[in-house]
Amino acid sequence: MIYISEEIKNLIKAEGEKAYPNECCGVIYGNYDDCKKAVSIEPIINASEDGEQYHRFLITPENMLKAELKAREQKLDIIGFYHSHPDHPAAPSEYDKEHALPFYSYVIVSVIKGRAEDFTSWELSDDRENFNSEEIENEK
């Protein structure tokens, strides 16, 4: 389970609408004691090749290194990533699964014709076999 406040949800949706028809992507910072709790997000420039950005996103290792260091500095952890699926359901693709790691929350927002709609989160099983839907709770 992951806690995501309405405010952060709206920030992610706005990023998805802004990037449309391309995919947006970014890092979710937060804490995890018993469960993951989102504290802030950071949009990352989609490093996918120009012309591929409408159906692919890529966060380069260099950007990840920066994000990891930033998280450590702020005494936070990277707890997941968000990206958008332009004109596509908010379900992970085979491509998403191949490139995922366990633990992290993979938040997907579906952006249909420029408007953010479904908002889901996914977690990879430890054996890499399944991408399981993860419950999202509004933070109180």
């Binding site: 995890y32 159906h55 996103f57 380069t60 952890d77 693709s93 366990p102 890499r128």
Partner: protein, 483 residues
């Protein structure tokens, strides 16, 4: 000797390291240290390694701020006390790109309904359009309607080649670009517009000019080429490359009020060289920039090309292979000529002499581009120099060879008007002892007139005004309009 290094573990993998974020490991190379890590925590292995020797491609290891991929990979040597950081590259996306999946989604079916209703196209034809790859050379007058209609029609992959930037004077006919695009690369502006029309398609851009060097490389990945260029050199390169790659070349050209369309497909009919074995001498046929063009004309010719492209993809109908369609917008007349494949064609005839795409020098020389510059050096003067000489009170005769309708746009102060056709006959109006400067719109036609006068035996000094009245308006009298 024992070497201890620290490995920093990302949050995702800490469940395999008992939540430790820093692990001490042994090893003299990055590979050994990681191996040692997996010995301490075996469950982490399948997330880091693809097999015994290779890291998963999204796993990156940094030594300080350097990715070990840029050092010596797993063989990167380590010093005692070094820190390695495991950093996953995060990727994902909605999956199959447009064109990879054959089936049409419900949304696509709704979008292409009017095509699906035509039995000649139908669902099969629309799928072929989706799978098709069309390269459009030039995103100008012809390329604009071509690209717009092919994108709207659902051609899955559209390639655009252009080296040019959007200029104010393009907007009269190049309708893919808008006012806000002036100064942008044409391919970038065009791509944005195409994506706004159809988000399902894939647009590939080449921000360069098509040359004999890159033609085969660029064209080979496409099924059909649509030629929307404005010069002979590129047309011959496109024609030759298409012949060698076995691709159809949907050709269009425009001049003033007249246009031509054909499909050059050496496998099934005539090629461009069958129609024009050699280009006209340079200067004889002015380009659109010199001779002007009715803005709507490339719109008509470009859409004719687009419908030829769609017919070739879908199959059926009567494509213009072995035929040349000519169109005269001023008299509103279409004409269709038969184009026989020439047995003497040096490219696709019985005994071809052209066996490969030549060098750029060959195409330049073939189209007479360099010759002209090399053979007859002529005197030239810049607008600023001319202004200085006039201010100094030098005696100079200025001849304006432009047409009356051009002079109606802007007059050149103090110039004598002599049309190019009358120059030689009226040569005695010029005084050989006085320097003479010839001006036209952009300093090209005036070169031809100077050559005419020299050939006719004129003995005085003749100067060409570099960049013509355009240069004068740019550098000297900026209050004048540029056309």
């Amino acid at each position: 000797m024992e070497m201890a290094v620290t490995i920093l573990i990302p949050t995702a993998l800490r469940s395999f390291t008992e939540r430790n974020s820093e692990i001490s490991a042994q090893g003299t190379t990055a590979g050994q240290a990681l191996q040692n890590l997996t010995e301490q925590y075996p469950a982490i292995k399948k997330h880091l390694f693809l097999d015994e020797e290779n890291l998963r491609d999204f796993v990156n290891v940094f030594l300080g701020s350097d990715n070990i991929k840029n050092l010596k990979g797993l063989n990167t040597p380590l010093k005692d006390g070094d820190t390695l950081m495991i950093v996953p590259a995060i990727a994902g996306g909605r999956g199959a790109p447009a064109g990879e999946s054959d089936d049409l989604s419900n949304e696509e079916i709704a979008r292409y309904s009017r095509h699906l209703l035509l039995p000649e196209i139908g669902i099969e034809g629309q799928k072929k359009l989706k799978a098709a790859k069309v390269l459009i050379i030039g995103t100008g007058g012809l390329g604009s309607p071509l690209a717009l209609y092919l994108a709207a029609a659902g051609v899955g992959t559209i390639g655009l080649v252009d080296f040019d930037y959007v200029d104010e004077s393009n907007l009269q006919r190049q309708i893919i670009h808008g006012v806000k695009d002036v100064g942008r690369p044409k391919v970038a502006s065009a791509k944005d517009r195409l994506k706004s029309i159809n988000q399902h398609i894939n647009v590939v851009t080449y921000n360069e000019s098509l040359s004999s060097e890159n033609a085969l490389d660029i064209i080979k990945d496409f099924d059909i080429v649509a030629d929307g260029t404005d010069n002979y050199q590129t047309r011959y390169i496109v024609n030759d490359a298409c012949k060698f790659l076995g691709k159809p070349n949907v050709y269009g050209s425009v001049f003033q009020f007249e246009g031509q369309v054909s499909v050059f497909y050496a496998e099934k009919g005539a090629c461009y060289r069958c129609l024009y074995p050699s280009p006209p001498p340079p200067g004889l046929v002015p380009s659109c920039a010199e001779g002007g063009v009715l803005g709507v004309l490339p719109g008509i010719v470009g859409t004719l090309q687009a419908s030829e492209v769609i017919k070739l993809i879908v199959g059926g109908g009567k494509p213009l292979i072995g035929k040349l369609l000519t169109f005269d917008a001023w008299n509103m007349r279409f004409n269709e000529l038969n184009l026989e494949k020439s047995p003497n064609c040096p490219l696709c005839g019985e005994n071809p002499t052209i066996t490969e795409v030549g060098s750029d020098e060959y195409y330049c020389e073939f189209c007479g581009i360099k010759k002209q510059e090399q053979e007859k050096p002529i005197l030239a003067i810049t607008p600023t120099e001319l202004k200085e000489r006039l201010d100094n009170g030098d005696k100079i005769t200025i001849i304006d060879i432009r047409e009356p309708h051009e002079r109606a746009i802007v007059k050149f102060p103090g110039a004598v008007v002599i049309p190019p056709g009358q120059l030689v006959r009226r040569m005695d109006e010029l005084k050989p002892e006085v320097d003479t400067v010839l001006i036209c719109r952009e300093g090209k036609k005036s070169i031809l007139s100077i050559e005419d006068l020299t050939e006719a035996g004129y003995s005085g000094k003749l100067f060409n005004l570099i960049d013509g009245i355009k240069g004068w308006a740019r550098d000297v009298d900026t209050a004048l309009p540029i056309y």
